[in-house]
């Protein structure tokens, strides 16, 4: 028995690799190859040079869009945190029935296609939508433009990304040993001081996880900002789409995509060094 077992581990076993092969081949054909092509294009279209990168990194328009993208992502992350933390707290610490209900609402919203959610925001915020009608009913003569603004795209992105934040923080909150809270109380902590010195630091990993996830997804968000946002306040993904669909500027678009990818990887690397990437999914 012991013999055969050690034999099994000593011999290079081909089976795990065979089982991985379909996925590996799939990823190779549909992910690695196109990505490599994008990378190559960024240096070769229209001719072999670093011109695309130079243009993206020095052009005022591109710099502004990049900056706008990062600011938006940061703002959306902050909003998700402000909305998500109290909700996660409620989920983790209310009675099972209430917690179940909130969990259900969050996951239902999470499972609904984000395209559907984006369109529902268009209906809700549109000029003929219920919100504007309500404002008019309340006597607002010239209701503000809600749709196709930074407000509408931010609102929808927060709505779409908040579940990532909530679930990450909730998981961490659920794992906090109640004895830690009791022990803090017995040592004289309560209310704000208990939260600030004990509860908040204990949930920090959840905040970090959720924030990185929301921030990174938000950086590359395409559909929602394009459909709901102001045309003047583009985000990088929208601009890339624009370059390729309208100007057929494959090289420029690819360079922007590669820069976005590199920045994202840098953020993830920093995060990994600090917290470990494996913790990102709870």
């Amino acid at each position: 028995m012991g013999m055969s077992l050690s034999k099994l581990t000593e011999k290079t076993n081909i089976w795990p690799w065979l089982l991985l092969a379909p996925l590996g081949i799939y990823m190779l054909i549909f992910f690695v190859v196109p990505l490599a092509e994008v990378a190559i294009m960024s240096f070769t279209e229209p001719k072999v040079s670093l011109a695309n990168y130079q243009k993206v990194l020095t052009g005022a328009l591109y710099q502004r869009v990049f900056l706008n993208t990062f600011m938006t992502a940061a703002f959306v992350t902050l909003c998700c945190l402000l909305v998500g933390y109290p909700l996660a707290y409620l989920m983790a610490h209310s009675k099972p029935r209430t917690a179940m209900l909130i969990l259900l609402l969050v996951t239902m919203s999470f499972w609904t296609s984000f395209l559907v959610r984006t369109y529902s925001w268009m209906v809700l915020l549109g000029n003929n939508g219920p919100l504007i009608a309500f404002l008019q009913m309340m006597g607002v003569d010239k209701p503000p433009q809600l749709l196709f603004t930074r407000f509408s795209s931010t609102l929808a992105m927060v709505h779409i990304l908040a579940p990532y934040m909530i679930m990450n923080i909730y998981t961490v909150m659920k794992k906090i040993d109640p004895a830690l809270i009791r022990s803090a109380e017995s040592l004289g902590a309560r209310g704000w001081s208990l939260f600030r010195h004990v509860y908040l630091p204990l949930t920090a990993p959840g905040i970090a996880n959720g924030s990185v996830l929301v921030f990174v997804i938000c950086l590359g968000f395409y559909v929602t900002p394009v459909l709901l946002g102001s045309p003047r306040e583009q985000m990088i993904a929208g601009l890339i789409g624009h370059q390729i669909e309208e100007f057929l500027a494959f090289g420029l678009g690819s360079a922007m995509a590669i820069i976005l990818l590199v920045v994202t990887l840098i953020i993830l690397t920093i995060y990994h060094r600090r917290f470990g990437l494996d913790k990102l999914w709870g």
Binding site: R182, S183, A184, L187, H197, A204
Partner: protein, 354 residues
Amino acid sequence: MTNYLQLSNITKTYGHFTALDDVSLSVDKGEFVTFLGPSGSGKTTTLMIIAGFEKASGGTVEIGGQSISQLAPHERNIGIVFQNYALFPHKTAVENVYFPLQMRGVSRVQGLRQAEDMLSLVGLKGFGHRHPKELSGGQQQRVALARALVFEPSLLLLDEPLGALDKNLREQMQIEIKRIQRSLGVTTIFVTHDQSEAMSMSDRIVVFEKGAIEQAAPPLDIYHRPKTSFVAAFIGESNLIPATITSAAAKTAESPTLGAFDYASTDVLTDGQKVTLLIRPEHIKLSRNPIEDRKNVSMVVETIVNYGDNALVIGRAGDIPMRVRVLGADVVIIREGEECYINWTPDAVFVITR
């Protein structure tokens, strides 16, 4: 008697289940009292009521003559060491110890110095900068102890703090905790289900069973003069023999299987009273032949467990299982399956009336 900590008629019910039934106890200032009992006996519930994490359904808790029943845990000024230590993982050892001082508004400089001093007292000088996960179980234990003591609590509660440690470390920590407790003179309640821990550490042991106190007495009293057969069986090894008092004046009892007994107990008993006779295994001698002036019973030896310096001989006298503790050298006279005599003097027989 100063009655520093006073529990009066504490009752705790969960729906129809009674977890604590009319528990009353007074503890002196500086006393080390152990709550001992099997799990579910109510010892931890009592501790949690003292700490304020559980609310009693009835009764009061007083410290130094002041009722604390209405106070929230953070207002009670009680130091607690939890079963798994409950150190804050995001704080270093010294920050953990500083925490209760921080909550009391002590400045960082002074508080950290006090915390360092306390760490030295528990034998962790120079470990202050480490995080809990960089410390061994025993070291974490010491940090937890330092944290519970640094703010000079009116009471120290220890909830099975040694459960997670291995045997050697456990014995070492027992001595340490005792030393620190004595040097600070802090009134301490220690909860455990380990009877040897209770025996070696306590000024007084309170035995809990089914939500009530069975007996509260110094360790040796508990061992030699248990009030109930539960206490006799729970603490140490025991031979319990059902019997009837035949003559209280002559101090004789009768067991249906083992016959007539002499006993030396001074309790007031009545003729015909049903009792349980306790004989500790180390008070029984083993011999080939009956010995004069002793009560002799024939026993069939079933198992011999050798510990080197001593041995436990397990056998059966009639239908009563008997345990005899003999010195290692004496065990060579018998083998498993053989019949021999066990015998004892009247002094070895303690009468339990409940």
